[in-house]
């Protein structure tokens, strides 16, 4: 017997870039590698977790590795603040404080680091969330791509919002707070120099005030989720799966900005799968849907809110369907991994 493993090489034994794209590959990695090692995880994986023993405290953590660091509408610093605030907000929590951990590549110009941190601080200040602790590591050139940021947030639930991806119910209206696809197409275009960047900007923004405005609706609001990696398709599939319901949306109601539609058409990408950083989907009891929509529209971050669909009273559980523009129906599947621009 030799030390070399005789087992034939299997492609699943290396991490692929798609394992981090928020779709089916990510779920597979969590289910087969991460969660089994951390002990039993029962119930849905939420954007943020309730702190055991403290029913009103919510914690969330996220790492930001976006390239390039700066792009129209946002940068890695503001994104790191907004992303964690939004994950807390999706559980109905008001953010109390953030921690920030930096991993910086040797050789990064201090001017760039300064800009990132100033933007991060400004975003935290604007959101009225203090950064109370942090950490800084510097690693050798090539060990990270310029700078990676981890933010952890603590939030407190107030009011009667008791949100979970598992609480969507038949009859619920599906509301969307704003247009989709802006963040993903902006970052792609800026990174690759595709020429769309002058027409689009990331939608990165904090959504906690929008969620606070919904708080008076209490238990009528069942589920909130911000469709980041994997886009709207992944978010709706996760909710359909965790709530065991059938979700149907109407393609003509889903707002896709012209520049996003153009970029996606040219590259063969699906706007439903492109990442967002400043919108959310809300599953709301039908009796409260109009009020929720009006409330969302009364705030700047929700001024373009629309109703895009509903939870079917009967239908295949866990499945998301789309009423297409020409009147047919098709399944909106969970994305596999990262989207790949097509050949022609």
């Amino acid at each position: 017997m030799t030390l070399a493993c005789p087992t034939p090489f299997h492609e699943d034994e290396v991490v692929l870039i798609g394992h981090g794209a928020g779709g089916r590959l990510t779920a597979e990695l969590l289910d087969t590698v991460v969660l089994p090692a951390l002990g039993d995880q029962s119930g849905p994986l939420e954007d943020a977790a309730l702190l055991p023993g403290h029913p009103d405290l919510v914690v969330s953590t996220d790492s930001f590795v976006v390239s390039p660091l700066f792009f129209p509408g946002a940068d890695i610093g503001s994104l790191a603040v907004h992303g964690t605030i939004n994950d807390l907000a999706m559980r109905g929590a008001w953010p109390l404080a953030l921690s920030v951990a930096l991993i910086v590549e040797e050789g990064l110009p201090l001017a760039e680091l300064r800009s990132v941190i100033q933007s991060l601080g400004k975003a935290a200040h604007a959101a009225d969330v203090p950064v109370i602790t942090g950490d800084t590591k510097v690693v050798g050139r090539g060990a990270v791509d310029k700078i990676f940021i981890n933010t952890t947030g603590i939030g407190r639930r107030r009011g009667a919002l008791r949100l979970s991806a598992a609480l969507a119910r038949p009859g619920d209206a599906v509301l969307l707070s704003g247009p989709i696809g802006l963040h993903g197409t902006t970052v792609l275009s800026t990174r690759e120099g595709l020429g769309f960047e002058s027409d689009i900007a990331s939608d990165s923004q904090p959504l906690h005030r929008l969620v606070r405005a919904l708080a008076p609706l209490g238990e009528h609001v069942h589920t909130l989720r911000d469709p980041t990696r994997g886009g709207l398709a992944a978010a709706l599939n996760e909710i359909a799966r965790d709530s065991s319901v059938a979700v149907e949306i109407d393609e003509s109601c889903v707002p896709v900005p012209e520049a996003v539609a153009s970029a996606c058409d040219l590259l063969g990408l699906d706007p439903l799968i492109v990442a967002n950083e400043g919108c959310m989907v809300a599953f709301v009891a039908p009796s409260a849907a109009d009020e929720a929509l009006a409330t969302m529209r009364s705030l700047p971050e929700g001024r373009n809110a629309v109703r895009i669909g509903e939870v079917l009273t009967d239908g295949p559980r866990g499945r998301v369907t789309l009423r297409t523009l020409v009147g047919a129906r098709r399944v909106v599947d969970m994305p596999l991994g990262e989207q790949l621009p097509r050949i022609c």
Binding site: S262, L267, R329, P341
Partner: protein, 367 residues
């Protein structure tokens, strides 16, 4: 969003569907050649709205799907070499070769990069004279002009570290090969609008006449396809077999002659193997003699390739329209986008992937 809305209008779609129902008096079988059109048909559910009896047959026009396994294996052998920067369009990265795919090679250390045009690959070659930069040049007549321009540009720059692995395919020979098959069910074609934007439609006229088959040059938006289908059905009902142009906003009869000149200068027609279909005479392009110095197949001596298709995969029958993905015993179980057995499950434009993404499970071939 005017340019899109015009071709996605639900009321107009309903109107065209009504027209189709009024026009079609008996069953007709129409093949859309292009994978992009397959994608729109399935994503929009158009094929499910067609009048009873009017059936779309999904053709071989997905460049990712028809790239031969031997080319893929060769590409991966080249990409795995130290010192090589291997460049490709994104959707080629997930196509399975005999043993692996480009994404897995990249995860194991190969320098595989997605580019959006072949000129990006030329630029990389300029920037990295210490590395061999290889571009995988696949696709139909649509991508050939840009690839030809990249070769001409690399030649002008005197680059010695740039090469292409060329596996271009041509549409008209594939159409005639399908029509020559005695079991062919295709009664009319929707020809790919973007291919015709480059090549025009003169090549299609003798095919329509010889095989007495209507050919409608069609765009890619939902209304383009509905109108193209209506025009094809109209011809079939009237017993006409002409080349008609639905895609008037982009296509003229002579095509783009400058693009054609560039292709003629850099490439020459050759026999080509199509994945799942087999060898078709004069159905591909390879680098012309005067540009062979850019041929990666000559520059990199790759030996020991043993391309082996999964025996369960019926890609050939899928690509020729003889079978539907849902007829395949492996569809959706052993063959999924996560673990594709064959190329039609890989590309977003592959028929199997389009069916899978749309949740198709129940259809079976009417035959």
């Amino acid at each position: 969003m005017k340019y899109l809305d015009e071709y996605r209008d639900p009321a107009l779609a309903r109107h065209l569907l009504d027209e189709l129902r009024n026009t079609a008096t008996r069953p007709w079988r129409i093949m859309e050649v292009c994978g992009g059109q397959t994608h729109t048909l399935v994503r929009q559910g158009i094929d499910e709205l067609l009048p009873a009896g009017v059936r779309m047959i999904h053709g071989p026009g997905c460049p990712v799907c028809v790239t031969p396994l031997e080319t893929l294996d060769r590409a991966m052998a080249v990409a795995a070499r130290p010192g090589v920067i291997f460049t490709s369009f994104g959707d080629m990265l997930r196509v399975p070769g005999s043993d692996t795919d480009m994404l897995s090679l990249r995860a194991r250390g190969a320098d595989v990069r997605v580019v959006y045009t072949p000129m990006d690959a030329v630029r990389i070659a300029q920037e990295r004279p210490d590395r061999e930069v290889v571009f995988l040049a696949v696709g139909f007549e649509t991508t050939a002009p840009a690839n030809a321009m990249a070769v001409l540009h690399a030649d002008r720059l005197g680059l010695t570290n740039f090469s292409m692995l060329v596996s271009h395919v041509l549409v008209p020979p594939a159409m005639t090969a399908l029509l020559d098959d005695p079991d062919c069910e295709v009664q009319a074609f929707l020809a790919a609008g973007h291919v015709c934007a480059v090549m025009g439609w003169r090549e299609y006229e003798p095919i329509a006449e010889r095989y007495r088959v209507p050919i409608v040059i069609t765009g890619f938006e939902p209304l383009d396809l509905l109108e193209g289908i209506l025009m094809a059905v109209d011809q079939l009902e009237q017993g006409r077999f002409e080349v008609e142009n639905q895609y008037v906003r982009a296509v003229r009869r002579s095509g783009n002659t400058e693009a054609q000149d560039a292709v003629r200068m850099v490439f020459r027609v050759t026999d080509r193997a199509w994945r799942g279909i087999g060898a078709l005479p004069d159905s591909g392009l390879e680098l012309a003699e005067s540009y062979r110095q850019f041929d990666a197949a000559l520059r990199f001596d790759v030996s020991g390739l043993c391309p082996t298709e999964d025996p369960e995969c019926i890609a050939g029958a899928i690509l020729t329209g003889a079978r539907l993905p849902t007829d395949c015993t492996a569809y959706g179980t052993r063959c999924t986008p996560r673990h594709p057995l064959g190329a039609p499950m890989v590309s977003a434009e592959g028929t199997c992937a389009a069916f899978h993404a749309a949740g198709r499970t129940k259809e079976v071939s009417p035959s």
